[in-house]
């Protein structure tokens, strides 16, 4: 336990300092100690570190660039341990992710890196038009849809998705995030989302709760 905690803190520091080599060392060592149990490393070292980084960003203690570099390094490391096509991933619930028609991709990218670092099965819908997303929702059996927008007018279109889901009784939960939701606390309710998250890690926690994991 104590060792995991220390390893997680070392991992976090390596990420914040954008030190790839140190970060990889922590993971290699942990894999060795844990006899190659990837999910154990994710749960005990990677997730707590990312969670702490997320809260530090939210509190204004670290900047977005650090969160981005952390998510990028972690994604590279987890993809090495747990390739995207790995059967261990595809047996997990499906999470969809989109920016709707918003052209701003960075939030989605960070989110994607973090979700995939947590071993989920992720489907990226890019910046697809709403009509196409609706089609996908009907066929893809998505449990949770993450929507990340920066532009207010795009954030307001989330309502078209949530109302469609309700009408068609599809059951997909919609979690929203991005600047407009951070600046207007009531916006997520206005667009009838299931929840909003201030950070990617918070989003993952909420989705786990919503999926009953």
């Amino acid at each position: 336990m104590e060792n995991d905690k220390r390893a997680s803190m070392d991992f976090e520091n390596a990420l914040i300092n954008v030190d790839r080599i140190a970060a990889e060392d922590v993971i290699k060592k942990a894999l060795h100690v844990g006899e190659g149990d990837v999910f154990r490393v994710i749960d005990t070292i990677i997730s707590p570190a990312l969670e702490s980084i997320g809260s530090k960003w939210e509190a204004g203690d670290i900047a977005l660039s650090q969160e981005y570099m952390a998510s990028k390094i972690t994604e590279e490391l987890t993809n090495k341990m747990l390739p995207i096509e790995s059967p261990q991933r595809s047996s997990r619930p499906s999470i969809g992710i989109t920016t709707l028609k918003d052209q701003h991709m960075l939030g989605k990218q960070i989110l994607k890196a973090l979700i995939s670092s947590n071993g989920f099965n992720l489907i990226d819908y890019g910046c697809m038009a709403i009509e196409n997303i609706k089609e996908k929702l009907k066929t893809d059996n998505i449990e949770v849809l993450f929507v990340s927008t920066l532009m207010l007018n795009q954030a307001l279109t989330v309502k078209e998705i949530t109302e469609f889901i309700e009408q068609e009784k599809i059951g997909t939960k919609v979690i929203v995030g991005g600047a407009p939701f951070l600046f207007d606390e009531g916006l997520w309710k206005e667009v009838k989302a299931s929840a909003m998250a201030r950070t990617a890690v918070e989003g993952i926690h909420i989705s786990q709760r919503l999926m009953g994991e």
């Binding site: 977005l64 650090q66 990028k72 918003d102 052209q103 990218q109 007018n153 600046f183």
Partner: protein, 347 residues
């Protein structure tokens, strides 16, 4: 001079001189609302400089704020570099796909000539026309993207962070080209009649990068650009946090800093120590749903926090009021400034 006879220019200059004018100056930084005013689409509105001029004049007649704002949209600058723009019916235009496809292309990147870009010339034309109309009575606020904050549109935010952290040589090269462009573009606007340049630099904000990194990068660039502009500079962090780098922004030579709703206005004002004036910090995104009461109270609170002694201009915290913000709220802000913003401020 009798105080209530001040023109907008006198009011703003008095405030920037850290003295109290007749009332608190305020900038309604309206862009797309001009299209509503003229009953046309946002795309059509920004296609002719005359539309922007007409829109700006009509909006100032309606709300009585203290500036003209001939800013079109951020990606207009990237159009000069060969980029495209995507227009929406109900929101600001966005940059299309990045012009720099591979980061290696930065090595051979050259800045466009301001005078060869039909898009930039439109802004200059709007500025000249507004200047003809306003004379010395109303400040005209020109806008330039900082060399340090334009790359998310030029190459994508991810690649930009990648080179900022891991390829300083390419990063420096990009900054060099962008800085030349920014200086030429800003000075062209000043020459056309802009009173000051609002330098949009949110990537310098501690929301986006840590202060240590800013000191090595965005700060130096701010300083260089500011020293070469033929007019005053307002550094705008587009609703990113400003407080932790206020001293740096002042050192870099800014006359004004625009601060976010996430910063405390009193703290920002205090930190400026009379070296810089403060612009801000109403939350534009929330503004859409403000009631008459919220509007009045929010304006009053901002004035109480920052207006004493001058050095304060009230505005939204992003440098552009969202299209969805209704006329009633804009009118409410204007009425509240006139009601609560008469100097001396009554607390």
């Amino acid at each position: 001079m009798i105080k209530d006879e001040m023109t907008s220019m006198e009011r703003v200059l008095t405030a920037l001189g850290q003295e109290e004018p007749d009332r608190v100056p305020y900038f309604l930084l309206l862009t797309m609302h001009g299209a509503k005013e003229l009953g046309m689409s946002i795309k059509e509105y920004f296609s002719r400089p005359e539309n922007v001029v007409e829109g700006q004049i009509r909006m100032r007649e309606k709300y009585g704020h203290d500036c003209y704002y001939p800013f079109y949209y951020a990606s207009l600058e990237t159009e000069a570099w060969g980029g495209s723009t995507i227009f929406y019916e109900d929101g600001p235009a966005n940059a299309g796909a990045p012009v720099i496809k591979k980061i290696e292309d930065i090595e051979s990147l050259e800045a466009p000539d301001v005078w060869d870009s039909p898009q930039l010339l439109k802004v200059l034309k709007s500025t000249e026309m507004l200047k003809d109309h306003a004379g010395e009575d109303v400040p005209i606020i020109g806008v330039a993207m900082s060399p340090f904050s334009v790359p998310p549109m030029q190459l994508g935010f991810d690649k930009y962070f990648d080179i900022m952290y891991e390829d300083r040589e390419l990063f420096d090269k990009l900054m060099e080209v962008n800085t030349d462009f920014c200086i030429e573009w800003s000075n062209a606007q000043l020459e056309a009649g802009a009173t000051a340049i609002c330098y949009f630099d949110p990537v310098s904000s501690p929301t986006l990068i840590p202060r240590e990194l800013y000191r090595e990068t965005g700060y130096k660039i701010q300083k260089k650009v500011t020293s070469q502009l033929n007019g005053p500079v307002a550094v705008h962090l587009a609703s990113g946090r400003a407080l932790p780098i206020i001293d740096d922004i002042a050192d870099a030579g800014a006359s004004v800093v625009c601060t976010s709703v996430i910063d405390d206005l009193t703290e920002v004002k205090t930190a400026c120590k009379g070296r810089m004036s403060v612009l801000g910090n109403l939350n534009g995104i929330e503004m859409r749903n403000w009631t008459a009461e919220t509007t009045a109270n929010t304006v009053r609170e901002a004035i109480e926090k920052a207006a004493e002694g001058g050095g304060y201009i009230l505005s939204d915290n992003h440098g552009e009021i969202p299209y969805q913000v209704p006329h009633e709220v804009l009118m409410g802000i204007s009425d509240a400034v006139r009601k609560y913003g008469q100097y001396p401020i009554d607390r």
